[in-house]
């Protein structure tokens, strides 16, 4: 019937038991996708520019900032990057990441299990302490970390860069949350079979924690690969520079020349590729959003 508003039409349709969803106008759908695409461009375009500009000459980069396609493809920036200590930075980043990730996974899962499953006096206090610690803003720890590293004589050494990053209250929290969700019957069964506490943890419960462990690993990887400020205060010798601090020096301070964009962007690209690879490989763990029934 003409003359009805769409609302009234909907109400009438519902009363008459017809499908409740009013037909969505095509314009809405187009608008929706337009918004999605515009934002996708905003989020992705800088990375395209990064890759493209890394192959440009300095002049080209300044003259054509909007185009991700170089006028002439040159490898100038990469050869300059090679002249920097890039290989060393990469090695140091890998060393830090391996030890921090390994350490965090090991220590956080042990502590998480202990706090979730083992009854001992003081457990509550330890847990409260960990929560309290999570509240300390990382940035406040820059000077303090420097002080303790100096005091312990590990300033400007690899342990000095690794150990502060091993302190990770959030990881303990995550693992504890996970272990709390494991049904106690599994451990009881193992106990009945004669397994001791650690055996139960190591051989029975921990393997079940794969998703949580992988999440923890990915977060640790990201956190340590990308860390800048903590590594900055933990060392001063250029031979200990990781990718972040090494490239960081290219950008700030005296060595950050005015318009050497291709060099800087090539460095940025090189830093991002490993993280991107890890991200894409382990995407489903990271983007785990519990869609459940919703199909992609």
């Amino acid at each position: 019937m003409p003359g009805l508003t769409s609302e009234e039409r909907q109400r009438r349709a519902r009363r008459e038991g017809i499908a409740s969803k009013a037909p969505r106008p095509r314009a809405n759908k187009i608008a929706l996708y337009a918004v999605l695409v515009v934002f996708a461009v905003i989020y992705i375009y800088p990375f395209l520019l990064d890759v493209g500009t890394a192959f440009k000459t300095d002049a080209d980069a300044t003259a054509h900032p909007l185009s991700p396609v170089p006028t002439h493809w040159v490898l100038h920036a990469f050869s300059e990057l090679g002249q920097q200590d890039f290989a060393r930075w990469l090695t140091n980043s890998v060393i830090v990441v391996v030890f921090v990730t390994g350490g965090r996974v090991l220590f956080d899962s042990m502590a998480g299990y202990a706090l979730a499953r083992l009854r001992f006096r003081g457990r509550g206090a330890v847990f409260s302490a960990i929560i309290a610690v999570m509240a300390v803003p990382g940035v406040v720890l820059l000077i303090p970390t420097f002080l303790i590293l100096k005091q312990l004589n590990i300033y400007n050494t690899y342990p000095g860069m690794i150990l502060p990053l091993l302190t990770d209250a959030a990881g303990v929290f995550i693992m504890r949350q996970f272990f709390l969700s494991v049904h106690p019957s599994i451990e009881e069964a193992a106990r009945i079979d004669g397994a001791g506490i650690f055996r139960t943890y190591w051989s029975v419960v921990l393997p079940m924690a794969r998703p949580a462990l992988i999440t923890l690993m990915i977060l640790s990887f990201q956190g340590s690969w990308n860390n800048f400020s903590m590594i900055l205060v933990a060392h001063q010798s250029p031979s200990l520079d990781t990718l972040t601090t090494g490239v960081g020096r290219l950008v700030s301070g005296q060595l950050g020349a005015g318009t050497q964009y291709p060099l800087q962007l090539a460095a940025a690209m090189a830093m991002t590729v490993p993280v991107a690879i890890v991200f894409f490989v382990f995407q489903k763990y990271i983007l785990r959003t519990g869609e459940g029934a919703i199909k992609e």
């Binding site: 030890f99 400007n156 050494t157 650690f198 005015g258």
Partner: protein, 420 residues
């Protein structure tokens, strides 16, 4: 058995970390705090030395590395050369971390801080070069009558002119007064290029204060006098050139410092020091330029700024004798002339200065200016106040000169008062 497994795992990780520590300690290992050799009379060991410096460009970096290699060949002591991205900060971090570089560039301002803290080794009197330096340079590095650090070179600000642009604009003699400078800068400003660029820091602008009869502090250094009508007039003059578009600051030209803008021909003239010579030689070889003395102020006063650095050696160096050996090597007339040829600085040894004038008649300007060169500001503890001053000067195109100077006066006087 379970506990053993835990313990094993933990021990393994701990062992790994310990191994890593010892394996990777090499020259970056544990802080050596107390183990510095007692006196400069100890024999130089073969422990690697670190040399940290702030480079003016590729030419300087190459020259310093070459000198280090030559020294290593001669003495057998390895040297690690570290161009700093922020020299003062990195040296400070070194001291705080107990591992300062064994030899480092030290400017007169930072020198005051370190000398006051008593961390520098007063080696100069023991070297053969002891009495060979320019008196003014020696003075800059003398603290409470102890000559504490060998000056490495000197530089003065002069006017660099791009000869191609100059001829193109049909100009004749270089500017000798402020008004001529302004007029020439205007003539040289074309579509893609500005007439004049200067550095947007006090080290790039203070010479105009002196040229106009102003000053920064009184002779005794107890009273800051940076807020004066003469200085306000000087800054106003600079601002007028900025407003006219005849002059621009490096940040307005997308350059990190004025020498870069000049080298890229974004500016036809540049007021900068002789270190720029090496920069142009290595990075901008196509620029043809001439160097002239700075124009005089309205009352005919000639003035420029002089800069110098010294070779700082910390008392706690792990190879103190070796570090002093290195400085001895670096402060010979031959080595100073090598540096001069490489990146254009004036030698600090008077004997070498004479060689310099003979070798580079075209750079005689710099030596010529030495008599009326004023040292750059060097008040102990003034780092933060000066960087705030620089921040404010960088905004000169849109800021009020009187306000800038008033704030600088307050901040610097507070520092001077603290030092009393």
């Amino acid at each position: 058995m379970n506990r053993k497994a835990t313990l094993t795992a933990l021990t393994a990780l701990a062992a790994g970390l310990v191994t890593l520590t010892t394996a990777c300690s090499s020259s970056n290992g544990f802080s050596s705090g107390n183990s510095a050799t007692p006196a400069s009379t100890a024999k130089a060991s073969k422990t690697q030395l670190t040399l940290m410096f702030g480079s003016s460009g590729t030419a300087e970096t190459n020259a310093v590395e070459a000198a280090a290699k030559a020294f290593t060949k001669q003495s057998g002591i390895p040297v690690q050369v570290i161009p700093a991205s922020n020299l003062t900060q990195q040296v400070a971090q070194g001291f705080a971390g107990g591992q300062p570089p064994d030899v480092f560039y030290l400017d007169p301002l930072t020198f005051q801080n370190y000398a006051k803290d008593g961390v520098l080794d007063p080696y100069p009197p023991n070297l053969p070069s002891a009495n060979g330096f320019s008196p003014a340079l020696q003075q800059a590095f003398t603290y409470k009558s102890t000559f504490t650090c060998d000056p490495k070179d000197a530089s003065t600000l002069a006017l660099y002119v791009n000869t191609a642009d100059w001829t193109q604009a049909g100009l004749g003699a270089p500017p000798a007064t402020w008004s001529q400078l302004q007029a020439d800068a205007k003539k040289l400003t074309t579509g893609g290029r500005v007439g004049l660029v200067i550095d947007q820091t006090h080290s790039g602008m203070d010479e105009f204060f002196y040229q106009n009869g102003g000053t920064v502090t009184n002779a005794a250094g107890t009273q800051v006098q940076i807020d004066s009508p003469q200085n306000v007039r000087a800054l106003t003059f600079l601002k007028s050139m900025l407003t006219q578009g005849a002059m621009k600051l490096p940040s307005q030209l997308n350059a990190g410092f004025s020498g870069q803008a000049f080298g890229e021909n974004k500016a036809a003239m540049d007021i900068i020091g002789n270190w720029e010579n090496g920069e142009i030689q290595s990075d901008y070889p196509n620029i043809k330029f001439k160097v002239y003395p700075l124009p005089a102020g309205p009352s005919g006063t000639h003035a420029t700024l002089s800069f110098t650095n010294c070779w700082g050696v910390p008392k706690q160096s792990r190879n103190l004798a070796g570090a002093i050996e290195f400085v001895k090597f670096l402060t010979t007339p031959q080595q100073e002339m090598t540096f001069a040829k490489a990146f254009g600085v004036i030698p600090s040894l008077q004997s070498a200065q004479q060689q310099y004038v003979q070798a580079f008649p075209q750079y005689s300007t710099f030596v010529q200016e030495l008599p009326y060169a004023h040292p750059d500001i060097a008040i102990a503890g003034a780092t933060q106040a000066l960087s705030a001053f620089d921040s404010a000067l960088a905004q000169l195109p849109s800021a009020n000169p009187a306000t800038i100077l008033k704030t600088a006066q307050q901040n610097l006087q507070a520092v001077v008062d603290q030092n009393k």
